[in-house]
Amino acid sequence: LLPRDGRMKEETWEELEEILLTADVGPTVTEDLIQTIKAERVSSLDDIRTALAARLEEIMRAELPRVPTHFTPPLVILVVGVNGVGKTTSIAKLARKFRQDGQRVILAACDTFRAAAVEQLSVWANRVGAELIAHQEGSDPAAVAYDAVQAAIARRAGVLILDTAGRLQTKTNLMQELLKIRRVLGKARPDLPQETLLVLDATTGQNALSQTRLFQEAVPLTGIILAKLDGTAKGGIAVAIQKELGVPIKWLGTGEGFDDLESFEAGAFVSALLT
């Protein structure tokens, strides 16, 4: 005996709510999505899931190219984010991609604060065949940035990627430091940096929204790298970020090796979310 249609639908909404909430989509966006689908008056369970997937894909689709296509070299990428999310490792992965394309890549060690941060980036630079610009520990990150961009221009490098120290978005003085690094790049040449990528940890919950918002206020973001998707976290907060702040997800980090970086694709992301 099958349950009456009304009751089945109630359980379906609860099931969908649970899938979305446990994926870190957050209560507000989840409620919006459920109400939107309910208003579409779809009748079967399959149609509900299809409607939800379609609505999610609509939100997540961003028409930008992964990498800027019209720019004057070098392509300068500033990488930012809170502590431990995967910035340094993601930079290694990006550098690897550009190196495989035959580009000359320079990495700038602008994390002059954390223990062994420069050593860590140095190991990666060697592994992917990139050059490293670094100063003494405790030196001014903006000075490293300035040196790096001068070197990149002088050496006609194809790509310059700047690694910065992890910082919680609520620390105003550290956000000011980031502003200063960006300003220094702009002073070297007004169109720099062409890319500013925020790295988010896929295991982070609702705080990722606050991170994106406050980093965006300090330095205009051109994209997000969502790292650690090889775990069990779904990274659903990306939906809320896309919906409310419009910063596009460009890359997905799927492991600790330098090849573990995938291009973001809305369809694949949404179906993984709803699994």
């Binding site: 604060f113 190991v123 990722a208 775990g231």
Partner: protein
């Protein structure tokens, strides 16, 4: 504040003697929203709301509080109790060697926390030895060595040898040379990586630690129950250290971990500097979670 939001939800409340079921339901919808926004796990929220509902229905409205304030008071009491009720001390033995194994997901703050803990215990008069058992992350050993130097605590390293062998050798060195505390910094790993979880199980079997501490990022969302649950099931944990509470994360992951694994939260990381380690107080986190 949460009390204001509940008050707004209860604005149709006529002053009666008892909290009615309808009033409680309206109030708890606000509480549920607050907990989900604070990253408390979906299932944990469901059970928690059920518990509070039972406690609240039929209670006399206290003359000193508004019904909204009263509901918040019940919620806070339940939260504090669920978070362990009080502080929880790190296990320490006066006469045996104390070995602390530090584990967790990638980037949670293990290496930094290991050094913070070494400094804290040294200040208490202990003689700690830090152990560099992360042989995978580039410059992981250097990172621990630099931190050890900062606090004048020796760091035992054997380069990229088997972490089980490193841990065993460190314990032997500690016994020979009179260290009373050993802190093993392990590599970050996924709870679903069987080989890496096996490595932890082998380290644990080899050194029989006094404590197996899960270092968890306070920014963690719904995934906290998966990670903590698996670490507890596969390895066994005796305590949890919540890091990065100096930010504005509400820290609901703490409730999820405690509710699902029963593991007590003992300490919290409140900054990048080596002194930024404090005792965990459940009432402070309860207030923070409720926003």
């Amino acid at each position: 504040s949460l009390a204001d939001k509940i008050q707004a939800a209860l604005k149709r409340l006529r002053t009666k003697g008892k909290l009615s079921e309808a009033d409680i339901k309206a109030a708890l919808r606000q509480v549920r929203l607050a907990l989900l926004e604070a990253d408390v796990n979906f299932r944990v929220v469901k059970n928690f709301i059920g518990q509070v509902q039972e406690k609240a229905v039929g209670q006399e409205v206290l003359s000193s509080l508004t019904p909204a304030q009263q509901v918040v008071k019940i919620v806070q009491e339940e939260l504090i109790s669920l978070l362990g009720g009080g502080t929880s001390q790190l296990e320490r033995s006066q006469d045996a060697l104390n070995i602390y194994m530090i584990v967790g997901l990638q980037g949670a703050g293990k290496t930094t926390t290991a050094a913070k803990l070494a400094r804290l215990l040294a200040k208490e008069g202990r003689r700690p030895l830090l152990v560099a058992a992360d042989i995978y992350r580039p410059a992981a050993i250097e990172q621990l060595q630099i931190l050890g130097e900062k606090i004048q605590t020796p760091v035992f390293a054997m380069g990229k040898q088997n972490p089980v062998a490193i841990s065993r050798a460190a314990a032997e060195k500690a016994r020979r040379e009179g260290y009373d505390t050993v802190l093993i910094d392990t590599a970050g790993r996924l709870h679903i990586d069987d080989d890496m979880m096996t490595e932890l199980i082998e380290i644990k079997a080899a050194v029989q630690p006094t404590e197996t501490l899960l270092v968890l990022d306070a920014l963690t969302g719904q995934d906290a129950v998966n990670a903590a649950g698996e670490f507890e099931a596969k390895l066994g944990l005796t305590g949890c250290i919540l890091t990065k509470l100096d930010g504005d994360a509400r820290g609901g992951a703490a409730l999820s971990v405690r509710a699902v694994t029963g593991v007590p939260i003992k300490l919290i990381g409140v900054g990048e500097s080596i002194e930024a380690l404090q005792t965990f107080h459940p009432e402070r986190l309860a207030t923070r979670i409720l926003g």
